[in-house]
């Protein structure tokens, strides 16, 4: 009796492996490939300094929080994280607000040369940042914005605006045209129609665009490095790169710092995932 149960369990296992074995293997491989460095980083951040450069053991025998203490309590990283948060949030809000208005105009208002405008927007985003960095630096210095968060946030917003416009334009175009027309006939001005009808329905698109801009701004390094000069304005990636190491490279501290910097974005991506479900328009038009 028991044996037949076991056999049955064994055979269902075989069926599962035959059906999903390949997929599982591929997923495992990709997962290890992508998360391996992160795992290594996590392990490193928990090792005491003297164990850092010894390979066996792979799994640390002693675990310490000394690196996290140093990064979070004794360095300027918390300040930089706050700076990053301010910069990324304001860049996101600016890019999405301006981008939504641009995209709405391109998607629904009678404008000549829409495809040209979209093309030009795309071209501007193709300039390598290094090509614009010195004029940008001079410009910001003239504005008196050098070494301010405004300069970094503004640059990030401008640089991610084409992306926001493109994404939102295609999202607005996917909304049935009749909904906009109905809103106009029901008495809306174009802006009212945008705010009351189009934006609520384009929420998944707004979430995607906001997430991408936020991640870009959070991770951006070169503009942030060039436009800031002091600990009080540095963003997190710059702070990690400039981590104080006088006589040796503090691998453990760096590992801890980079994990701390990565965590908010990873968390954000997971949180937003739920909003990125389309299908909000189901039922509006025949269906």
């Amino acid at each position: 009796m028991r044996r037949s149960d076991d056999d049955q369990a064994g055979s269902t296992m075989m069926v599962w492996i035959r059906a999903h074995g390949f997929t599982a293997c591929v997923l495992l491989f990709v997962g290890l490939f992508c998360l391996g460095p992160v795992l290594w980083q996590a392990v490193t951040s928990l090792k005491p300094d003297q164990d850092l450069v010894r390979l066996p053991p792979l799994i640390p025998e002693r675990v310490t929080s000394v690196h996290y203490d140093r990064v979070l309590l004794q360095s300027s990283l918390p300040r930089s994280l706050a700076n990053s948060m301010v910069v990324a949030a304001s860049a996101t809000v600016t890019a999405i607000v301006v981008g939504a208005f641009c995209a709405f105009a391109l998607a629904r208002l009678p404008i000549a040369g829409k495809s040209v405008i979209l093309g030009v927007a795309l071209v501007t985003s193709m300039f390598p940042p290094i090509a614009v960095i010195s004029p940008l630096y001079l410009l910001m210095r003239e504005f008196g914005l050098r070494d301010t968060l405004v300069a970094v946030g503004l640059t990030h917003a401008v640089y991610s605006l084409p992306l926001a416009v493109w994404l939102l334009t295609s999202f607005f175009q996917q909304l049935p045209k009749e909904l906009y027309q109905a809103a106009r006939i029901d008495g809306c001005t174009p802006v009212q129609a945008l705010l009351t009808i189009m934006l609520p329905l384009a929420r998944p698109g707004l979430a995607v665009a906001a997430l991408l801009v936020f991640i870009y701004s959070w991770n951006e390094f070169m503009f942030a490095l060039t436009l800031t000069a002091s600990d009080t304005t540095r963003t997190a990636p710059v702070a990690v790169a400039l981590f104080p190491g006088l006589y040796e490279i503090p691998w453990g501290d760096l590992a801890a710092a980079s994990l701390v910097v990565t965590l908010p974005v990873a968390g954000l991506a997971l949180a937003f995932q739920r909003h990125i479900i389309a299908g909000l328009t189901a039922g509006s038009v025949k269906g």
């Binding site: 049935p176 009749e178 909904l179 027309q181 109905a182 809103a183 106009r184 006939i185 029901d186 008495g187 809306c188 001005t189 009212q192 009351t196 009808i197 609520p200 329905l201 909000l280 328009t281 189901a282 039922g283 509006s284 038009v285 025949k286 269906g287």
Partner: protein, 368 residues
């Protein structure tokens, strides 16, 4: 409520002419139908009336005042879309209240007055139990009612309907047709209704305009258009089954359409003898009888190719052959006669209901 005047309205997109200059008056409180095949420009005309699109030339007047350059919100028209265009993120209540909520501040009603209006219109349309549902939780007919409610709630001057029934099944369509007529009788709002379905046009409209290729072909009361179509397009488009259009030779003693001899109508136009005309016969006027008891003058004999029972009438398509010419004609079977495919039958058409057209211009010949 308003009288709508369309003066020489024209619409082009690039070089393409969508609407040739159109002039049309819709009277105050009238139920007017624009009917035509898809691509004839009827929806474009509706967009122009609603203000969603600008004409290339011409004027639109509501009660004598020019609204051509006004925004949709300034025209005070309501439009029901074929797709209903309900706002999916709003409940039925919010959908219906929407036109009142976005009204200009000076005209906006208080919150509790809006709710009263929603309740009133919902009661009127039988939607009271559904106010908290979202559009996706409603059936097609219910969505249709919500769309009507949203359009009617602010008592528009002009009520536009763009093929509102074509997404409904046949039974629902018939009952919604009756419902629309009831609404129109009670509210007396000037209504312009666009459809490609000539049955809808015939049953709904006080008057109708048949459109084709961007031109108005004929304007009139449904019965008048049915009885005397002005050209071949209208003749073939209005009525089901479509009118038989045959090429015929005009003679002293009548008309010869291949093997079929027709008596010349008394009001026949003064045209040259031996002239070729196009003669139109409605299938309900063409009688198909058994070939044996053919006492009818001028009956032609043919072979049944197709039979279409439609309840009260059995439509028969027969092929008439006299060795030189073949004519295909549809008609209605004589009461009690059920022909089989391939059977020999006698086909005859009475003279009073012949329509004559000029085959080159397509225009109707004669007075009627």
């Amino acid at each position: 409520m308003a009288e709508v005047r369309i003066e020489l309205i024209e619409k082009r997109i690039g070089q393409k002419i969508i609407l040739h200059p159109i002039t049309l008056t819709v009277h105050d409180g009238e139920f007017f139908v624009l009917v035509g095949p898809s691509g004839c420009g009827k929806s474009t005309l509706l967009s122009l009336l609603a203000g969603l699109d600008q004409p290339t030339a011409g004027r639109i007047l509501f009660d004598g005042s020019d609204v051509t350059d006004l925004e949709p919100r300034e025209r005070d028209v309501a439009l029901v879309f074929q797709s209903y265009a309900l706002y999916p993120h709003m409940t039925v209540r919010e959908n219906m209240a929407f036109p009142l909520r976005v009204a200009p501040r000076a005209k906006r009603l208080e919150r509790n007055r809006i709710e009263e209006e929603v309740q009133r219109v919902a009661g009127f349309l039988g939607l009271s139990a559904l106010l908290d549902r979202r559009p996706r939780e409603l059936s097609g007919g219910q969505r249709q009612r919500v769309a009507l409610g949203r359009a009617l709630i602010r008592k528009p001057r002009l009520f536009l309907l763009d093929e509102p029934l074509s997404n409904l099944d046949a039974q629902l369509r018939a009952s919604m047709r009756a419902e629309l007529l009831r609404l129109h009788k009670e509210l007396k709002v000037t209504t312009i209704y666009v459809t490609h379905d000539q049955t809808e046009a015939m049953t709904l409209g006080d008057r109708l305009a048949a459109l084709s290729q961007g031109r108005i072909q004929q304007i009139g009361r449904p019965h008048d258009i049915y009885a005397a179509p002005v050209n071949l397009f209208v003749a073939g488009f209005m009525g089901y089954p479509p009118m038989n259009l045959l090429s015929a030779r005009l003679r002293n003693d009548g008309l010869q359409a291949g093997p079929l001899h027709l008596t010349r109508p008394s009001d026949a136009p003064t045209v040259d003898q031996e002239q070729i005309v196009t003669v139109g016969l409605r299938p309900e006027d063409v009688v198909v009888a058994p070939a044996t008891d053919s006492g009818n003058e001028g009956a032609g004999f043919g072979i049944v190719r197709l039979t279409e029972p439609s309840g009260p009438t059995l439509w028969v398509t027969a092929e008439l052959n006299d060795h030189s010419e073949v004519v295909t004609i549809s008609g209605s079977a004589q009461a009690g006669f059920v022909p089989k495919i391939g059977e020999r039958v006698a086909v005859s058409g009475p003279r009073a209901t012949l329509h004559l057209f000029d085959p080159t211009t397509g225009q109707r010949l004669g007075a009627s």
